[in-house]
C-alpha cells in the first residue's frame, strides 16, 4: 500500500475515533451526548442556562430540570406565584427532551451544575441516581404530609424518602364509553368476558384494541395483562433475584394471551408496526374502541376529539373469582433535591410550594395529569374519571419494579417477539436467557 493509501486508511481510523469519543467525553463524570441529536423533539428544547449559583443581588437562583415540555406553561405560571411569595428565590427551568434527559441532564446532575430540584423516573433511573448518592434525604420534611402516603412509596429506598412522585397515572387501557354504550358492553370481569367483548367490537366493524406495538405498547399493556397472572407484587423483584423465571407459567400465559389477542385480530392489523401516534389516531378517530396505553393520554385524546367520552378498563386475564387487582397505577415525575445543591433549603421550599393542594390542583387541571397530592379538586371530566380509580384495588406498575434496564427490555421484547410470530414458550426462553446472563454479572 503506498503512502497515500496508508494515509487514507489512517484518516478513516481517526474518523472512527470520533465515534468512540461519544462514549468517552468526560467532564466530571459526564457520559457524553451521543444521543443528543437523536431526539424526536417531543418536548421543547432546553431553555436558558443555569448554574444553581446565587445571582446578582440577594436573589438565590435555583435550577429546576425535567423532561415535560408540555407542562412548561403550567410550571411558568406556578413559578411566577412561587417567586412572588419568595422574592429572594428565582427558579430557572430547563426542559430536556426525554432522551436528552437520560444522557445530558442526569450527567449534569452529578456535578451539581443544574437541577437543585430535578425530576426522575421510577425504576432503573431512580435506582441509579440513588446509588450515585444524588438525592437529598427528604424524610421528615413537613410537606410530605400533603401527599397520599401510599402514592409516594416509589420514591423511598432503604427507609428514606429520596424523591416524591408528583404525578399519578393509571397504566390501563382507555375505552370509548359511547361505543361501549352503543353495543351494550360493560368492562368485562374475566378473560372470557374480555374476549367476548373484543369479538363483539370486531363483529361491529371496529378495531377492538389499538395497540402501539412498535414502541410504548408492550411496556404499557404488559402491566394489566400480568397483574393477575402473577399477583405477587414482587414477581419481577424475584425474577431479578433468580427466584422466578419468565419461562414460568405466569409469563408464558401472559405471552399466550397477547398472542391470542393478536391472532384473533383484536389488535389493529400490523400492530407491531404501529407507533404511539398511529394507535392514538385510530382511537381518536373512533375506529378503535380501546387504546392500550394509559390515563396520561386522556387529555390529549380529548383535545384531538372533544366529543370523546373516555373511561378506563383493565383486562382481567383470569376467572373473576381469582382476580386480585383491578388495575395498575404508576407514580412518576419524581421530584428530588440534588444532594450537590448549594441551595437545598430553597429547593425544598419549591417542592413544598408544589405540594400545596391549590398549586397541585392548578398543575393538574392545566396539564391534565392527576397528582399524588391529597384533596386536590379536579375540574375536567378526564381527571375526575381517573380520580375514581384511587378507591380501586390497583397495583404499582410491575415494569417499573424491574431495576435492570436490560431485563426490562428483554421482557417487553418477548411480547414483540410473540406478535412477530414466535411461540410464547420460545420467546419466554430467549428472554429468560438474557435475564440469566444479567443475573450472572
Amino acid at each position: 500500500m503506498n503512502k497515500i493509501g496508508r494515509l487514507n486508511v489512517f484518516a478513516f481510523i481517526l474518523a472512527t475515533l470520533l465515534l468512540l469519543s461519544a462514549c468517552g467525553s468526560n467532564t466530571g463524570g459526564n457520559g457524553g451526548n451521543a444521543a443528543a441529536d437523536a431526539s424526536p423533539g417531543s418536548a421543547s428544547p432546553a431553555q436558558g442556562g443555569s448554574s444553581g449559583e446565587a445571582s446578582a443581588g440577594d436573589k438565590v437562583k435555583i435550577s429546576f430540570i425535567h423532561w415535560r415540555g408540555e407542562d412548561a406553561e403550567a410550571f411558568d405560571s406556578i413559578i411566577q406565584k412561587f417567586e412572588q411569595e419568595h422574592p429572594n428565590i428565582q427558579v430557572e427551568t430547563q426542559v430536556f427532551p426525554s432522551e436528552q434527559y437520560q444522557t445530558v441532564a442526569q450527567a449534569k446532575l452529578s456535578d451539581g451544575s443544574v437541577g437543585d430540584v430535578f425530576a426522575s423516573f421510577p425504576g432503573a433511573q431512580f435506582e441509579a441516581l440513588a446509588k450515585a448518592g444524588l438525592y437529598t434525604d427528604l424524610s421528615g420534611e413537613s410537606f410530605l404530609a400533603n401527599f397520599t402516603d401510599t402514592l409516594i412509596e416509589a420514591g423511598q429506598k432503604d427507609g428514606k424518602q429520596l424523591a416524591i412522585p408528583y404525578q399519578l397515572v393509571y397504566n390501563i387501557p382507555i375505552y370509548n364509553a359511547d361505543i361501549f354504550e352503543r353495543y351494550g358492553l360493560t368492562p368485562p370481569k374475566d378473560w372470557d368476558g374480555f374476549l367476548a367483548m373484543a369479538e363483539k367490537l370486531k363483529s361491529e366493524g371496529l378495531i377492538p384494541i389499538a395497540f402501539p406495538g412498535a414502541d410504548i405498547g408492550p411496556g404499557q399493556f404488559m402491566n394489566p395483562m400480568v397483574m393477575n397472572n402473577a399477583p405477587d407484587p414482587d414477581i419481577f423483584v424475584k425474577l431479578e433475584a433468580g427466584e422466578a423465571k419468565l419461562t414460568d407459567e405466569w409469563w408464558v400465559k401472559t405471552l399466550s394471551q397477547f398472542k391470542e389477542l393478536n391472532d384473533k385480530g383484536y389488535f389493529q392489523p400490523n400492530a407491531l408496526g404501529t407507533k404511539d401516534q398511529g394507535a392514538g389516531a385510530l382511537f381518536v378517530q373512533e375506529k378503535a374502541a380501546i387504546l392500550a396505553t394509559g390515563s396520561y393520554q386522556l387529555a390529549q385524546n380529548k383535545k384531538s376529539n372533544p366529543n370523546l367520552k373516555q373511561k378506563l378498563l383493565a383486562p382481567i386475564t383470569v376467572p373473576a373469582d381469582q382476580a386480585v387487582y383491578e388495575g395498575i397505577h404508576t407514580t412518576t415525575f419524581m421530584l428530588g433535591v440534588n444532594a450537590k445543591s448549594k441551595h437545598p433549603e430553597e429547593a425544598k421550599a419549591f417542592i413544598e410550594f408544589l405540594s400545596r393542594k391549590d398549586i397541585a390542583g392548578e398543575y393538574a387541571n392545566a396539564t391534565g395529569q392527576n397528582v399524588t397530592v391529597k384533596d386536590v379538586e379536579y375540574s375536567t371530566e378526564e381527571l375526575k374519571t381517573v380520580a375514581e380509580w384511587t378507591t380501586k384495588k390497583t397495583r404499582f406498575q410491575p415494569r417499573f419494579t424491574i431495576k435492570n434496564g436490560e431485563v426490562q427490555k428483554a421482557v417487553t421484547n418477548s411480547i414483540q417477539a410473540v406478535l412477530g410470530g414466535q411461540s410464547p414458550e420460545d420467546a419466554a426462553k430467549e428472554a429468560q436467557a438474557i435475564v440469566d446472563q444479567q443475573l450472572g454479572k
Binding site: 475515533l17 465515534l19 468512540l20 450515585a132 400490523n270
Partner: protein
C-alpha cells in the same frame, strides 16, 4: 523563527481542539472500558478485561453485531450501486444534469431524525405511501409491515439510510469519473470496446480510489446510523434492528453500564478499522496510476 516553523503554529489550534475534544475523550473511553463505572457514581472499580469478556457472551451484543453487519452490507451494496449508476448518468452531462445533481443531494441535507420520521411515515403499514402505491399498482401481495416485521425491519431501515446518503456518494463518484482522462476512454472505444467493456476495463479500474472512498465512508456511516435507527425503530421489534450504536446507547444511558458501553465502543472502533482496512486492500485503491 523560520517560515516553516511559523506555519506550524497555524496547526496548533486545530491540533489542540482535536486533542481536547476527540483524542482525550477517546482515551478516557478506553480507560472506562476497564472499569465498572455506571456513568453517574463518583467511584468505580477497575475490572480488567471483564467488560470485554462479558461482551463475547452478551446475547444482545451478539445480535447487535449480526444486525449491524447485515445493515452494513445492505447499505454498502445499495448505496454504492445506486450512486454509481446515477453518477454515470450524470457524468454523461446533458440537459438537466445540474438539476438532477441537486435533486439527488437534497436528502443529504436533511437531518437523520427528519429522514427517520419521513420514512417511518412512508413505511406505515396502514397509511404509508409505500403500501399505498403497491396496492394501487395491484401488488397488494407485496405490501408489508415494513418496520414491524422482524425479518424485514433492518433492511427497511437500511433503505432509508441509503436514500439519505446516496447524494453524497454520487458527488464522490462524479468527481472520480471526471478525473479519468477522456483520451483513455476514447482510445478504448477506438479499439472497438463496447459500453460494458469500456466501463469494466477502463472506467471501473480507474474509479477504484473513488469507489474505495465511497465504500469505506458508507461502511462507517452504516455503523454510525444511531439517530436514524433510534428514531425509526429504537432497535425493535424484538431486537431485530438493534445495532452496535443503539446497544452502546442502551448500555450507557438506560442500563447504566458505562464500562460495558465503553468496551463495546472500543470493539466498534476495532471492527470498523478492520473492515475499512480490508476494503482498501480488496479494492486496491492505492494501485491506480495513469
Amino acid at each position: 523563527m523560520k517560515p516553516g516553523k511559523k506555519l506550524l503554529l497555524f496547526f496548533l489550534p486545530g491540533i489542540a481542539l482535536y486533542l481536547a475534544l476527540f483524542v482525550y475523550p477517546t482515551l478516557t473511553g478506553i480507560y472506562y472500558s476497564f472499569t465498572d463505572w455506571d456513568g453517574l457514581s463518583p467511584s468505580y472499580r477497575y475490572v480488567g478485561l471483564d467488560n470485554y469478556a462479558g461482551l463475547t457472551e452478551h446475547i444482545v451484543f451478539r445480535k447487535a453485531v449480526g444486525n449491524n453487519l447485515k445493515f452494513m452490507l445492505a447499505v454498502v451494496i445499495a448505496q454504492t450501486a445506486v450512486s454509481l449508476v446515477l453518477a454515470l448518468q450524470l457524468a454523461r452531462g446533458g440537459k438537466g444534469a445540474a438539476a438532477l445533481r441537486a435533486l439527488y443531494f437534497v436528502p443529504t441535507i436533511l437531518s437523520s431524525v427528519s429522514v427517520g420520521f419521513i420514512w417511518t411515515f412512508l413505511y406505515d403499514p396502514s397509511l404509508g405511501a409505500i403500501n399505498g402505491l403497491l396496492n394501487a399498482a395491484g401488488l397488494s401481495h407485496w405490501t408489508q409491515n415494513w418496520l414491524g416485521n422482524v425479518r424485514f425491519a433492518i433492511f427497511a431501515v437500511a433503505a432509508a439510510q441509503a436514500w439519505a446518503h446516496i447524494g453524497q456518494m454520487v458527488i464522490l463518484f462524479v468527481a472520480g469519473l471526471q478525473a479519468i482522462p477522456s483520451e483513455l476512454v476514447e482510445a478504448a472505444k477506438l479499439d472497438g470496446g463496447n459500453r460494458w467493456q469500456v466501463f469494466a476495463r477502463v472506467t471501473w479500474p480507474l474509479l477504484a480510489p473513488a469507489a474505495a472512498l465511497v465504500v469505506s465512508y458508507t461502511t462507517i456511516q452504516s455503523f454510525k446510523a444511531f439517530d436514524l435507527v433510534f428514531t425509526m425503530t429504537n432497535g425493535g421489534p424484538a431486537y431485530s434492528t438493534e445495532i452496535l450504536s443503539t446497544f452502546i446507547y442502551s448500555a450507557a444511558f438506560a442500563n447504566y453500564t458505562f464500562g460495558l458501553a465503553s468496551a463495546a465502543s472500543v470493539f466498534f472502533l476495532a471492527l470498523v478499522s478492520l473492515i475499512t482496512f480490508l476494503q482498501f486492500r480488496v479494492l486496491r485503491a492505492d494501485r491506480v496510476s495513469y
